[in-house]
Amino acid sequence: MSAATVLRRSRAGTALAGQPPAPAGGRGARRLLVPGVLYLGVFFVLPVGTLLATSLYAPVPGGELGQYTPALRWQNYPEALGAFWPQLVRSFAFAGAATVVALVVGYPMAYVIAVRARGRRTLQGLLVVLVVAPFFTSFILRTIAWKQILADGGAVVGALRWLHVLPPDGRVSATSAAVVVGLTYSFLPFMVLPLFAALERLDPRLLEAGADLYAAPATTFRRVTLPLSMPGVVAGTLLTFIPAVGDYVNSSLLGNSTTTVMIGQVVDARFFRLLDYPTAAVLSVVLMVTILVLVTAYVRRAGTEDLV
């Protein structure tokens, strides 16, 4: 028996001694992981690796459009970023704005479902169904519906002009505002559902305790409800922000072709219309890395604030 085997056995032994063994646990359970881990390895890790490699490809000298050769052409990065930083920055700005609006719109919805409708199961169930109902109709048809709703001759633009929010010839269609409205709309259910889940776990006695201690409702909200719903806020903002940054359906259907272009549209066009795979890959890699850095920083910060 080799030393490694002894070590492994004894470690397994202490693990078993420390906790009651779960049936089908240990090695049997570990085998259950194999197919899924292999699948994600082959169809997630490997493709991301290929994407990284593609981002450094060089064009074949004298080759046709779309012909590239494996290389380490690091200039691809400054070149792509130099050309497309405005679209990249805009994607983060639009997604950030949509996330903030979704939080402001979604929080009262989640609060009403979780706290005001507490105990009334039918009403609660109905409201949850209303939140997920948009998922049952085509995402793209709903986005096109916004195009119709925000059209120049429509009631929304008419009302905004009448209220002097918009000048008499002002429009919403094909503006940044239309894209942000579309993004907010598309991912609002992803904001409401985790908020609802967090608020539902809230013990109503805590709110009563706040009132008993003569806290104004606003104070109770700020000091009790909001901090306790932070896990929902973090989950909801991430589930809204991440898909919104990479989305190009809203910006291409509701925006214009110059001042509202988001990075997803650029990646799509580089890949399929211009066969410029390295640039598309560079932008995808930058997008992915930036999001991961932001998400890590955000979760850390939210985590520490929770403890304070």
Partner: protein
């Protein structure tokens, strides 16, 4: 007291506006399935049942729907199976690599769809795999898998290991213990995960558009038609799916309530 009552009305009013915001485009989609709009269907021209009488009347709309249903069915079965195994394994297995597996499951959810699409198509192109139904299914299984794991894991961790132990004490093989004890207890979670996987796959556009080549799904059909005008038949199909999904949810809720009693 007045302040409390004021807050009492303000919050539900805001929430109602939120619900209105969420549902107006759905109403639009349904409404325009009854529009006598011809091919473009952008402005209201009058009520008709033409599109409902002939839902496959527009070219390629029904073949796109069938494509989406096939992709959704296969992806759901594969992703739910792999994801359920992975979820049980993650809760039960004791080993040092678990944080790494957790990360592997989390990363696809933290990656925007454009990046997933671009990565997969790079991979498929470099393997010289022809794009079509197969590549779309491979891609859909990948992004549905993580969501299945999250949904099923929540259910597995509520499970009492003593139940399986009891089965083992009664001389059940691990296989019997799984099918007769664990699986029935996990079923609601697995069912919810499968529904989630199907709806993610059925409505996916971005990953599909990268990995599908000449193969068309329903969302892709709608997006491609958007420039020329979407036939009202697309609205009919979408509205019918909406009603169907609502009925499914309703039945599930009623059944769940009957069980609780």
């Amino acid at each position: 007291m007045t302040r409390l009552r004021l807050g009492g009305a303000v919050v539900p009013t805001f929430a109602a506006l939120g619900f209105l915001f969420l549902l107006v485009p759905v109403a639009y989609t349904v409404l325009f399935s009854f529009n006598d709009g011809g091919k473009t269907n952008l402005v209201w021209r009058g009520f008709t049942l033409d599109a409902w009488r002939n839902p496959c009347g527009a070219p390629r709309v029904c073949s796109a729907l069938v494509g989406s249903l096939q992709v959704g069915a296969v992806s759901t079965v594969v992703a739910t199976t792999l994801g359920t195994l992975l979820a049980i394994g993650l809760v039960r297995a004791r080993f040092g690599g678990r944080p790494a597996v957790d990360l592997l499951v989390f990363l696809p959810m933290a990656t925007p769809e454009v990046v997933l699409g671009a990565a997969l198509v790079s991979q498929f192109l470099s393997l010289r795999l022809p794009l079509g139904f197969g590549t779309v299914v491979l891609a859909h299984v990948m992004f549905c898998l993580s969501f299945v794991v999250v949904a099923v894991k929540a259910r597995v961790s509520t499970l009492d290991p003593a139940l399986e132990q009891a089965a083992a004490d009664l001389y059940a093989t691990p296989w019997q213990a799984f099918w007769r004890v664990t699986f029935p207890l996990l079923l609601p979670g697995i069912g919810a995960a499968a529904l989630l996987a199907f709806s993610l796959s059925f409505d996916d556009f971005i990953v599909t558009s990268f990995t599908s080549g000449g193969f068309t799904t329903f969302p892709k059909f709608v997006y491609v038609s958007a420039t020329r005008g979407i036939p009202p038949q697309a609205n009919v199909i979408s509205s019918a799916m909406f009603v169907l999904a609502l009925l499914v949810v309703l039945v599930v809720q009623v059944v769940a309530r009957a069980r609780r009693r």
